[in-house]
Amino acid sequence: MRVLAAMSGGVDSAVAAARAVDAGHEVVGVHLALSRAGGTLRAGSRGCCTIEDAMDARRAADRLGIPFYVWDFSERFRDDVIEDFVAEYSAGRTPNPCMRCNERIKFAAVLEKAIDLGFDAVCTGHYAILREGDSGSLELHRASDAAKDQSYVLGVLTTDQLAHTLFPLGETPSKALVRAEAEARGLTVAHKPDSHDICFIPDGDTRGWLAERVGTAQGDIVDRSGTVVGSHEGAHAFTVGQRRGLALGVPAADGKPRFVLEVRPVSNTVVVGPKDALAIAEIAGERFTWAGAAPTSDDFACHVQIRAHADPVPARAVLAGGLVTVTPETPLDGVAPGQTAVLYDGTRVLGQFTIDRTVSAVPVDA
């Protein structure tokens, strides 16, 4: 196959590309420039898309003896990921920009361009497993290394996308083995720190970054009965489940700490309450996709996961009227609209949806 290896400059994508070469594919390395204003050198483990990252990717490609190019997707990334991130936060939702990037950039714009230019597949360093299921259709599964599993952020991929994708690292038992392999292969990125946080917010200060773009506007912090208990400088700075940074002058009647339960962007209001009020009994959304074959039943048992590193919770999913509604066996904590719920059957990713609506497990009057 002609394979386009997306190379970030990190160890995972370098080893993934190396394995694609070993598998006999004709591999071309491509580094995606997602920012035109990236720094020259990386600082610690944060940020990406610096010139140094591009150079690390290039040196890995040199080591593998494959051609290497840089593709400029900065405009698409700005429009589809960064502006979407700002818009979602402004709407009181909590988006996952990595999923959006996978959905719109890496496995869409880049993959489409690759196919058009004559490639058969895109290869990345994600930790997830692609394999043929019993029925012969392609299935996406959790990685062997549970600690590195990235199937959640890939949940948005559809059958067509999966059919043109390679994840060579999925069955590696641990990341340490990937680093050791990189070292053995003479890849200089073998000990490069993992990247964390959101790549376009290099200092990790999401609130400060958002405040610069959305601006500040004083608003009320209220409790579930509507009583004003404090004020804030902009609802976008708050996310459901958050406890720190509320600076409430009036203590709760029961003296217990309070958490953000809801963000209302239109009225610029933040609703707070006790921790147990965070419990969510039901989630629903209308923007859903299936990773592989769609479920054969419109009412089925599954596990639901609502964050990249949350535990999966047993649940029942019902499809009706263009809506998927999921009822977990035990309430979910800290669910915010805008987050993605990924549904699993065992290790297999069934699909995902963006959470539009949540139902509290604790009535207001309780």
Binding site: V28, H31, A33, R36, I51, A54, M55, R58, P67, Y69, V70, W71, D72, F73, E75, R76, D79, E103, R104, F107, A108, A109, L111, E112, K113, I115, D116, L117, G118, T158, T159, D160, Q161, H164, E286, R287, F288, T289, W290, A294, G322
Partner: protein, 409 residues
């Protein structure tokens, strides 16, 4: 075997230049040392300076060796600007918008740090400077220095150096000419250009050249500085080369540059005719197969080896990748930031728009280009264009991902 069609980026080292380079590098001696070994190195260096001066038709003392074209351009523009500002207080710099990045970035720096007022002069659809606007800009009364490419490095169109220089003479403004891509490819006589201008201290007074554009090694260049020109140095140290460029002199590089320049000038007439024929055949072959293709600068006089065109709806770097896979080395013509081709500022300046600026491809032929190379491109490029056209412009907005299933599927 790679079909190498990026001679404007760098052209293969001439065997004779390689010989001269290695022979000189074998010797020991710093050209500034007084002993016999130093004198040997000095002899090699000054022989090279004389031979290069002969190829340029200037005085040997006017040749200041540098590390390459970019350094020469920096020294020429910044050196002239500082000297003029110091003596006359003038702070404007006149330049066309389609100059090379060595010039653009130097001007940007001088504007940000040394109060330079930049007077940009437009270019026409062939990337040729607008002389009426040039006249207005250099005659504005505040021009400290003007700078101009001899030939546009992307499109290859020749610039009206003689006329632009004459206008500078009328205005009393010194002119730097960036001849990095032109020297060795078009007849250039520093003396004749100066005489045509009719002045000693205004008009053309400095000219940048580089060895690797005509078959010499990378890392060697020169700034030709007229005796009468006042140029402030950028590097300070041992006072070498009229105090204009301190630093131990690279005798071996200079020797290789001189040999390459002599050969390039000697065979200029026959080679440019041969290369222009190949270029014209390439252009005709592609025109016949790709009617949408728009050749840049076709109506103007161009460097013999330059072929630059817009391929509507395709991204230049997609075509580059496909041709590279087919063993054909080409360029998008524009500058790169970490390997990402910028949308070409030259194509934008030509008024062709942002999409065209992403859809340009530059093929530059040279000394080693053969008929077979041209045939290979005519065979491969139409298919590459078709594929790249399917992939389209990555700037385009697509709705739902084409491979995605979309909501509810």
């Amino acid at each position: 075997m790679v079909v190498y069609l990026d001679h404007a980026a760098t052209t293969p080292l001439r065997p004779e230049a390689r010989e001269a380079w290695l022979a000189a590098a074998e010797g020991v001696g710093n050209a500034s040392s007084i002993h016999g070994a130093g004198q040997s190195a000095r002899r090699v260096l000054e022989d090279a300076r004389e031979r290069l001066a002969a190829a340029l038709d200037c005085d040997p003392v006017e040749v200041v060796f540098t590390s390459g074209g970019t350094e020469s351009v920096n020294l020429g523009i910044t050196g002239l600007y500082r000297a003029r500002r110091e003596t006359t207080g003038q702070t404007a710099i006149v330049a066309p918008v389609a100059e090379h990045h060595a010039t653009l970035d130097t001007l940007g720096w001088l504007s940000a740090h040394e109060v330079a007022d930049l007077e940009w002069v437009p270019v026409d659809r062939d990337a040729v400077v607008d002389l009426r606007a040039w006249e207005g800009a250099v005659g504005g009364g505040d021009a400290a220095v003007a700078t101009l490419l001899a030939a546009n490095n992307e499109v290859g169109t020749l610039q009206p150096v003689v006329a632009a220089s004459a206008l500078c003479v009328e205005a009393g403004v010194p002119l730097h000419v960036d001849a990095v891509g032109a020297f060795g490819h078009i007849p250039l006589s520093f003396r004749a250009l100066r005489t045509a201008s009719g002045s000693r201290s205004a008009g053309l007074v400095a000219m940048s050249i580089a060895a690797h554009k005509l078959g010499g090694p990378i890392g060697v260049g020169a700034l030709v500085v007229a005796r009468e020109a006042r140029v402030e140095p950028l590097l300070h140290g041992g006072g070498q080369q009229r105090g204009l460029r301190a630093g131990t002199q690279d005798a071996a590089g200079a020797a290789a540059f001189a040999v390459a320049a002599e050969l390039a000038v000697a065979e200029l007439e026959s080679e440019s005719a041969r290369i222009a024929d190949l270029r014209d055949r390439l252009e005709a072959g592609l025109r016949a197969r790709i009617p949408q293709m728009r050749v840049s600068g076709a109506a103007a006089e161009r460097l013999a080896g330059h072929f630059h065109a817009i391929f509507p709806g395709a991204q230049g770097d997609s075509m580059l990748l496909l041709l590279d896979a087919a063993g054909i080395a080409v360029s998008t013509g524009s500058a790169c930031q970490a390997g990402v081709p910028e949308p070409s500022h030259v194509v934008r300046a030509m008024g062709l728009g942002d999409d065209a600026a992403r859809s340009a491809l530059r093929l530059t032929l040279g000394r080693t280009t053969t008929d077979a190379d041209v045939d290979a491109v005519i065979a491969a490029l139409p298919g590459a264009y078709e594929r790249a056209h399917t992939a389209g412009l990555s700037s385009r907005r697509v709705g739902a991902p084409r491979l995605g299933g979309g909501a509810g599927s």
